[in-house]
Symmetry: C2
Subunit: 76 residues, 2 copies
């Protein structure tokens, strides 16, 4: 898989996290706290700048109260 | 989120990869090659022993010809 495609997926996941996080009424800082992740790390995630791992993806899905499948819904 | 819960998710994802990989008729070695990942790393993934990142998850979904959402289908 090309790097450009992988970056696109990171970006799409970050956008999805941002949309769902805002829909739950969390600020980025509050949400990072809920996920037990650092605030600046959460910013990086939402901008698609990190190769986030399954453990941290699971913490985010848990805080958003969605399944992993729902979190990835619509991502190609 | 508790470590036990995160481990359970890693295990469930590994199981899911194994089932879908076998359904496609790939040996673990062939499949690792398709994903551009190391054979021993793929074994670790299927046993839930790695905190796999989104880039590698995307490579696996791509080789399985499923969406990310489908890959996580049924995982809690």
């Amino acid at each position: 898989m090309e790097v450009a495609k992988l970056k696109k997926i990171r970006k799409a996941l970050g956008e999805r996290v941002r949309v769902l996080r805002k829909a739950k009424g969390f600020s980025q800082e509050e949400f990072a706290y809920e996920c037990d992740l650092h605030r600046t790390y959460m910013g990086d995630i939402e901008r698609g700048e990190r190769n986030i791992s399954i453990d941290n993806i699971a913490k985010i899905a848990n805080a958003l109260e969605v399944t992993l499948s729902e979190l990835f819904d619509g991502l190609k």
